[in-house]
Symmetry: D3
Subunit: 160 residues, 6 copies
């Protein structure tokens, strides 16, 4: 039976750090579902369909990867997909704490689902999407941080 894992996130937008992590996950699991959270209470830069489209374009070369969006609790979404593994990236201490809180809360809510943590390449370990957007908004050339197809729409969106 193929092993499937879900990599949930907001991906607003997808960065090279995400692509790095998806590539690593795809080497471990047979199928990786990248799951874009349609989170109602934050104001994303890109709409859910836009984020899904960007991810599809930038991950199409990685074997076993599909992209979807979901609403509500990630554990309920995992139950629906009959998947018992969630993937998260760990970059820094503050990640660590938030991720652990979330993973332990999820475990309490659904004992059958396990969260596994992967390390991004150290080239992306410092990459914060908040800083990325701030820098892009101030006119920085962020071509080394995001996939080529994301660069232009990000710039346009932030310059509005």
């Amino acid at each position: 039976m193929p092993k499937t894992a879900i990599y949930p996130g907001s991906f607003d937008p997808v960065t090279n750090g995400h692509i790095d992590l998806i590539t690593r996950a795809a080497r471990i699991f047979d199928k990786v579902i990248v799951a874009v959270a349609h989170n109602y209470h934050k104001k994303p830069i890109f709409t859910t369909p836009e984020r899904v489209k960007m991810l599809k374009e930038t991950t199409k070369g990685i074997k076993g990867v599909t992209v979807e969006s979901f609403e509500g609790l990630v554990i309920e979404y995992a139950h629906t997909k009959k998947v018992n593994v969630l993937i998260r990236g760990l970059r820094m201490i503050s990640d660590f704490e938030y991720e652990f809180q979330m993973a332990l809360t999820n475990r309490r809510l659904a004992q059958d689902i396990e969260t596994v943590f992967l390390m991004p390449s150290e080239s992306y370990a410092f990459l914060s999407s908040t800083l990325l957007k701030e820098a892009a908004a101030l006119g920085a050339d962020v071509s080394q941080f995001v996939p080529k197809s994301v660069e232009k729409p990000l710039k346009e969106r932030l310059r509005r």
Copy 2:
């Protein structure tokens, strides 16, 4: 002379982690005043009287505990109550830093008041009220994280 300590917080709403800490504090000090901050610049889910009421209900079995609300600086409130001990819970690193900053700031403002830190049970060490509210808002069953009497009002309030 009975030893009294103040446990200040926003308690929006009270969680099982808070109850655990209050129970521990009550074993150390003769009297524990749970002090609900009427903080004007955050938007709580529950009003100050609602939070006080919930705390009173859920702590009425714990000997030596009273519940009040206060406005302004906690050190001035402590002076008014003639109490020189504040209690705070420490769960994680980020808590640690924020709590230390606050305690040192309070110490600078009032040299006579000491902050003591207690550890919650490891069952609640990961419990973040922000994550709790997010999960509840997405429809999660949070019955294991909050007292029974809080569960229903929390669900109703977040579903509005």
Copy 3:
């Protein structure tokens, strides 16, 4: 093809925290090889064969788990076994840093091998084998921290 992962460690001795992690790993991977490091420069309490034997006894009920020992670099051992996934547990911040350093060093030495991190149950998140041994050496009852079959030999060994 079955997915195999290696869980390397010194397991001196195996604790309930290790058993918890092995159980979780076995739910994610088809095969889990628990690999006892025959580390020449530390002075373990138990010999390598003793540690292997203890692990075999305490994991025999967990499906897909085998126990072996290895010498030298874990990445070379993984290459020999044709396994590309290492498993490590993450409990606290200090773990996090050491584990990341080790995982990044391993990645540099062997690009094909990925380290995945799992979270133990919060009941074991604080369990430090150093503290465990110190407490046991001072006569503490450590029956809740180690498997039943480990308790007696640990006591005997530390009391020498």
Copy 4:
């Protein structure tokens, strides 16, 4: 050739911790440019000209220090000034992470610019401008945390 360094920040308002750091920087570098970020997306308490004025008043006794404001990316501002050293203060772990992310992002954007970190006096190591403003807003006497000339305008502004 005199060594020049830029100390960028929002300085909203300047605290004794900032003054401590500027004093230390001025002992290491021949010239220190304190650069007030005219950050368009946060809501500062004081306007950029007000913050520049406060800094000028409170640093006028420190040899080699000038005060300016800048817009946009700090690395572009540094390029304009032909300065290759940025100074930042490090107080706590959370600072550390944010500062490192920012410094590494800046390094990626401008390889020629180096960030150096200085430690404030331990008397100011806990001083958070957020807590400072919260305390001041609640009526605390913050005279020991900010320069004398800042105290009154801070109180007036927060009491509005």
Copy 5:
């Protein structure tokens, strides 16, 4: 009934940071027992009686403080003394983790005993006894870090 707390440690030797903490503890509790661990497996600079003597001399002015030594588990010692509160100081992140592990292990071994954490003055927050001894061994003047009566014996002992 007077509230008593035990402050256990190795105190090898007592520093100004310890004195600061004992002073704070004595303001909160009616009686504070400073308990010197006669730890058999570390090599202290000073013998247990020497450490007890130094503590007695340097704390004799603080009301309610007594000094003793103990062997074995601190929780068993606390049971013997019929005390249910342990005091520990928290200075930094690494303290935090070690202290939490120890406190949670103690809680597991003795549910009736609570550990409370106090913050030293920020003047001592950085004071590491390891660094102190290293500096003293290299000839540094450590008079500002240790009580006057400790200074000379420390110098003599390290210079041997």
Copy 6:
């Protein structure tokens, strides 16, 4: 007057991370004295003259850099050299704490000396000399972590 800074350390042996830091320091300061600590109480792999020689060889291309050894307190050495700036690298949280403790202790012992922290390249941020030596001792190819001239002697020394 040329600005001089001292970069003290044990450099046992010099790694690519050290070279990276020295290169950055040399861009900020006119002169950088790399100061090898002749630390009497640790057992280095290489003797002090060996470590000085390795550093001289690997830094000879970097303008303004000299290599020396020193005994005793680094602040006294700095006073002898009439230098008021120490340089240290910061890689991770555990570094951060230790380095801050050391820097604050040094500041207390010598108010005139300032420690500045630099960030290594993220390629070296994870590089721990302890892990490096462990890996090399187990036969790992560490050519990407140390200068070419260090590789062979390190291997020989650890294989003894």
